[in-house]
Amino acid sequence: MAKAPKLPVHQILDENGELLKGASVPDMPKEDIVELFKTILKVRVIDSRMFKMQRQGRIAFYMATQGEEATHVGTAYALKPQDWMFPQYREHGAAFVRGLTLQQFINQIFGNSGDLNKGRQMPMHWGSRNLNLVTISSPLGTQIPQCAGAAYAMKIKKKDSVALAFFGEGTTSEGDFHAGLNFAGVYKAPAIFFCRNNGWAISTPFHRQTAAENIAVKAVAYGIEGVRVDGNDLFAVIDIVRQARERAVKGNGPTLIEALTYRLSSHSTSDDPSAYRSEEKDDGPWKLKEPAVRLRKFLGNQGLWSMKEEQDWEKACEKELLDAIKVAENTPKPEMDALFEDIFDELPWNLREQKSQLITFLKNEGKR
């Protein structure tokens, strides 16, 4: 009988912001803890403002990460700058930790000429070559074998680095998940597969996504390490990602990390969760466990944070954000050339012809 191995859930900080017995904070300066907490708060400020912006019709679309911030903020902190991240779409905390500027993030949402993607993608598809943040693409799971490939490249180039892919638990059902983990396992690539198990894939709960006991046990199918972590516990996330990184760069192969968390927000601005889950019964218990609550208590207990500081910080974030939005709104959209560039390294004849046809049209339509 194929019984799944029992996997403990790694935890350091409990729901009251107290360290678990015998557990200790990962090796990091206290200021960094404060910084990461501030990043979490900042992400919340951004999420709630951008949601409203979408409702006002000022942006096309948005996806919030409320309740899940520790998973990506902690992960990005645990990695080194030379490590690559392949995000899914709900991990903008990782982008900020890595160094994406708020202005870059907002420009992407507006698709203006300041957008590193030249305005080509929907909101929430940020990425930066300079920062080793692979530009997000919408098809689910495709980043997983890609991450395995990048990790293998690092291995044969003998780099001291790893490649990490984020994805939701729903995405583990895709064939590409299977492909990526199996390849990484066979080649012992220095890859980390980080699953945010936030309980829901749009309206589909975990137990209708797979009959597996949990996501981490799926590691067994690929002969790789599988671990579970409290995804709302920033310290535990940092700890477990560091361990996985260590394992990877030492040549001991990839790790599948399952971070248990909860999508407190709706799936996206297009979604209405009240149609499929109960705020009280489903979301309620998780509201008590979310990462900011714990960290606030922890830092407060240590005298490192006060409500006054929080209010000031949120105000500062709000201001920075409103400024960035203003800049983005006043930044023109990319030049029309951007419509045709970057299909290939050079424009082939058909695109040259089509571009001049479009110029004719736009003149004809009074748009140029």
Partner: protein, 324 residues
């Protein structure tokens, strides 16, 4: 007759099918409890139970392969792919399996089924929520491809597709899911597949389109008429196998033709139509057939306007053929 939008008409068609035929089942990502992200399968699970309408894991190749198995056993699956941009992981199951099963088995194992999927641009969806991939599937013999242009059409064509003995890909123009409204009978009716619809008769230029573009074509025809140009507007409805008779007759009559689609020009289905209509009607043509299409780029978020065919551009193409 009640007025329905396209989602309501599709939902109504599904309810009717479920009622009439106990072998019809529907599934897809978020299709069960929630009724689909566009709510096309709303109420089916509630009314007919989780066995007949259910959520699928996020795995398009699984959805198509699973549907194959259901169809093989004699059920009539109506699977949903949440966006046609996400149908490619199922490409192998569709093109190598679903399209070929009847043939490779000497007719023993047909797999009649419907795969519904929203498609198309004009909604600020960028690369992955705007694609019109119908042409990819036209090159695989063995699958029918149907695209409705309004709620009345959607209901009748979907019911005919569910009844059909072959696999049908049913592409739904999501741009007009809610904006397109029509009187739709609540009773069961079918619109036969492989019959194009002459939406407007005319004498000088044949204008061919499908889905949301059909309305752009109608608008273009109005613009043309204001300039005294008489346009025949054809809503193709079934892309494969398409209605060659209606097209041949129209092109022979007008001697001029413009084909419009959202997908990129190169190897879009306009290419096949243009090639075939040239081959068959060369001596009747006063000008080369024009294609007014999406550009040979991916669908660009910030250039939706620049990308999407509009009535003025179609009018421009119409004039090109007239002035040739």
């Amino acid at each position: 007759m009640p007025i329905m939008n396209m989602i309501e008409a599709i939902n109504n068609a599904l309810h009717l099918s479920f009622e009439r035929d106990p072998d019809v089942v529907a599934f897809g990502e978020d299709s069960g409890y929630y009724g689909g992200v566009f709510r096309a399968t709303k109420g089916l699970q509630e009314k007919y139970g989780t066995e007949r309408c259910f959520d699928a894991p996020i795995c398009e190749q699984g959805i198509a392969g699973f549907a194959f198995g259901l169809a093989l056993y004699g059920l009539k699956p109506v699977a949903e792919i949440q966006f046609s941009d996400y149908m490619y992981p199922a490409f192998d199951q569709i093109v190598n399996e679903i399209a070929k099963s009847r043939y490779r088995s000497g007719g023993q194992w047909p797999v009649p089924m419907v795969i519904r999927t929203p498609y198309g641009g004009g909604i600020n969806g960028g690369l992955y929520h705007s694609q019109s991939p119908e042409s990819f599937y036209t090159h695989a013999p063995g699958i029918k491809i149907v695209i409705p242009s309004d709620p009345y059409e959607a209901k009748g064509l979907l019911l005919a597709s569910i009844k059909d003995q072959n696999p049908v890909l049913f592409f739904e123009p999501k741009k007009i899911y809610r904006s397109s409204k029509a009187d739709v009978p609540t009773d069961y009716y079918e619109i036969p597949l492989s019959k194009a619809r002459i939406a407007k008769e005319g004498s000088q230029v044949t204008l061919i389109g499908w889905g949301a573009i059909h309305h752009v074509n109608m608008d273009a025809a109005k613009l043309a008429e204001k300039e005294g140009i008489s346009i025949e507007v054809i809503d193709l409805r079934t892309i494969i196998p398409y209605d060659i008779e209606t097209l041949d007759a129209s092109v022979k009559k007008t001697g001029r033709c413009v084909i419009v689609h959202e997908a990129p020009r190169t190897s879009g289905f306009g290419a096949e139509l243009s090639a075939t209509l040239h081959e068959r009607n060369m001596l009747h043509l006063h000008a080369p057939i024009q294609r007014m299409t999406g550009w040979d780029t991916h669908y660009p978020f910030s250039f939706d306007y620049e990308y999407y065919p509009n009535p003025k551009r179609i009018l421009w193409a119409i004039k090109q053929t007239l002035e040739f």
